[in-house]
């Protein structure tokens, strides 16, 4: 082959497509798996995390499904019937005990649905109250985390991507909110918002949810987004130095596009994990506030308010406290263990 000085010295023969015979030699041992599949596989190997996941699924499903067919409702006082004097025999029933009128009905041959956990001091079926309280606590935890996620995501990605003065100002605000003692601020805001919102919410759809839960969400939206924002900013700062971001910018991509298409998908695992770990935190805070009387509005139960109500008859009816205590600890524990499992599976780089 004669050498032309200014050519690329490429032998064109090397670029002929492979024949079918040659293709046979390429052996695929197994189909390549994606990052997500790898993560799921790693997660499934972690027995503790899988068991926690199953427990959470069972608790969540039963808190949604059981109220559909349970014959009692959470605010129905069984001893109170219109046109009749209050029947005190329904108050504080032990598990599987019945009220006087129910015993009479059973003797007459009717079937009466048992009170699996007995009743509370107002004669309400305790099982359905616990189920309902679980539902409320889970919902509060979930939505509070979503709020935190959205705000943290928005502000964190703006700070990380914009950099400069914007970043500086946002991060100083984050620093200050971060150093505020969160629980005290939560109590302060919850105790005031409760009263401020109660009037403002009358007549709207939000009234149904109750001013206390709304104020809880407001508090979360105001205070708890900072660690999420910090995390996402850090991720974006390191990701935006990557070549593919530079390539996208060079081809004229707008900032919104780069954030949505390149930066966020690459920190998605970090985002999911910290959201998952935020849920038990929110449940913890809600139950704490409910215990101080700043949580859900009565008669709506939450696990914290059930435990708090149970304090009054503690000596004689200990199980009224034990049941919500077990449920709440189980939920928080499983969520924490599952979050740890998710972190180990999807973010091998990140430790503790």
């Amino acid at each position: 082959m004669d050498m032309k000085k200014l050519s690329m010295q490429v032998d064109l023969d090397s670029f002929i497509p492979a024949t079918d015979e040659e293709k046979e030699y390429i052996v695929t041992m197994r189909p390549s798996s994606t990052f997500f599949q790898d993560g799921v596989k790693r997660f499934m190997k972690n027995k503790v995390a899988v068991v926690s996941l199953i427990i959470i699924v069972i608790i969540t499903l039963s808190s949604i499904l059981i109220p559909m067919f349970w014959p009692y409702s959470y605010d129905q006082m069984l001893g109170v019937q219109t046109g009749r004097p209050v029947d005190p025999s329904f108050k504080n029933l032990e598990p599987f005990e019945y009220g006087r009128s129910e015993i009479a009905a059973m003797e007459a041959g009717e079937k009466v649905f048992p009170h699996v956990f007995g009743t509370d001091a107002s004669g309400r079926d305790y099982f359905i109250r616990v189920v309902y309280g679980t539902r409320i606590s889970l919902a509060v935890g979930f939505f509070a985390s979503i709020i935190v996620l959205i705000i943290g995501l928005l502000i964190g990605s703006i700070a990380g991507y914009a950099g400069g003065a914007v970043d500086l100002i946002i991060m100083r605000i984050v620093d200050i909110i971060y150093s505020l003692p969160d629980m005290l601020m939560v109590i302060l805001l919850a105790s005031v918002l409760k009263q401020t919102l109660a009037g403002a919410l009358d007549g709207t759809i939000l009234e149904h949810i109750g001013s206390n839960i709304i104020s809880l969400f407001v508090v979360f939206a105001l205070l708890y987004w900072v660690s999420m924002a910090r995390l996402i900013r850090g991720q974006i700062l390191s990701l935006r130095e990557q070549e593919y971001v530079m390539a996208a910018e060079a081809t004229g991509a707008r900032p919104g596009w780069v954030i949505r298409k390149h930066l966020l998908p690459n920190c998605i695992s970090v985002i999911i994990i910290s959201t998952a770990l935020q849920i038990p935190n929110a449940i913890f805070t809600e139950s704490y506030l409910s215990f101080l009387g700043l949580g859900v509005n009565a008669p709506m139960p939450s696990l914290g308010s059930l435990a708090s109500d149970a304090l009054n008859g503690l000596a004689s009816h200990t199980f009224l406290l034990i049941i919500p205590a077990i449920v709440i600890s189980l939920i928080v524990l499983s969520l924490n263990l599952m979050g740890d499992g998710l972190r180990d599976a999807f973010d091998p780089k990140l430790d503790t």
């Binding site: 150093s179 105790s191 005031v192 101080l292 914290g304 406290l321 924490n336």
Partner: protein, 309 residues
């Protein structure tokens, strides 16, 4: 101390002062935003009497004037004004009364948590993956997942009502045991886990092997080389621990009827005693901010390798 550390300390100090100011400001304006004001719950009050009350507490002046007066009083004299519900008493008196009991509880709980946490954590690390390590980890995981009000009430039921070993009322002597244990359990569990993981980290370092190879006794390696370094991360937990104990004491004092600051705070929230709420929030928040500051600075001084930026 090099100039970089000094700069860091100055920065942290400024942030701390600023944070306290933000807390005072938020508290003031949030409280003033309450509809109806602090005298709402007074029954059948005439407008004249209302105006008189407002004049007495300086609430008839413009908001910003009130704010600056409040800020000045708080900063210069720690004066939070009189309590609205406990007539004739200054907020700061009530707080310092309650603080005496609460501080005793809190300090004992913190020291107990620190000592037992470090001992258990180091022990678990040395017996890594043995049965005893597993047991310690399971128990601490459980404690970390249980809210303090649950732990408190369960302890109350078990020791005061079923076994009758300890009194349920926590105002004096033996009665303080249960509230202290309740407060200490969570930080203890946390410190145990922290110490264990940092101890495992340190034990894997080269200098431990070097020390052993040089013939230093096992005990000396453990205490002089390993534990000393493993304890550094525990310093960072001082601030959060105080924050936990403060918020924990709100419910714990409620459960065990301890006459401390937490109980005062909760009852001032229920009867809407605004000067009390403001005063207590500001004092407790300042304490937490100071503790965070101290633990951050201590951390930086103890281990100059750490880059906190």
């Amino acid at each position: 101390m090099d100039s970089k550390t000094a700069l860091y300390i100055v920065k942290r100090l400024i942030l701390a002062v600023f944070t306290v100011w933000v807390v005072i400001t938020i508290t003031f304006f949030v409280m003033r935003a309450v509809p109806g004001g602090p005298f709402l719950s007074e029954k059948a009050i005439s407008p004249a009497a209302q105006a008189q009350l407002e004049a007495k507490y300086g609430m008839d002046k413009p908001l910003m004037t009130q704010y600056f007066t409040y800020l000045k009083d708080v900063v210069t004299r720690m004066d939070f004004g009189p309590s609205l519900k406990q007539r004739g008493r200054q907020v700061i008196e009530i707080i310092s009364d309650g603080m005496r009991t609460s501080a005793k509880l809190g300090v004992i709980a913190a020291v107990a948590a620190l000592i037992s946490g470090v001992v258990l954590g180091a022990f678990a690390a040395l017996r890594r993956n043995k049965l005893i390590d597993r047991i310690i980890m399971v128990i601490t995981t459980a404690f970390v997942s249980m809210p303090s009000f649950i732990v408190g009430t369960l302890l109350l039921v078990l020791f005061a009502m079923v076994l009758h070993w300890l009194p349920a009322n926590g105002s004096t002597g033996r009665g303080l045991i249960l509230p202290i244990v309740t407060l200490a359990l969570y930080p203890m569990a946390y410190i145990t886990r922290l110490t264990r993981s940092s101890m495992l980290d340190v034990l894997g370092q080269d200098y431990i092997r070097t020390a052993r190879a040089k013939g230093v006794s096992k005990r000396a390696v453990l205490f002089k080389h390993a534990l000393k370094n493993a304890l550094i991360p525990v310093i960072t937990y001082f601030g959060p621990m105080l924050a936990y104990i403060v918020t924990g004491s709100l419910v714990v004092e409620q459960i065990f009827a301890v006459p401390g600051i937490g109980r005062q705070f909760v009852s001032s929230i229920t009867n809407r005693d605004y000067p009390m709420i403001m005063g207590t929030t500001i004092i407790l928040a300042t304490l937490i901010v100071i503790m965070n500051l101290v633990s951050d600075i201590l951390y930086k001084i103890v281990d100059p390798r750490i880059n906190l930026e």
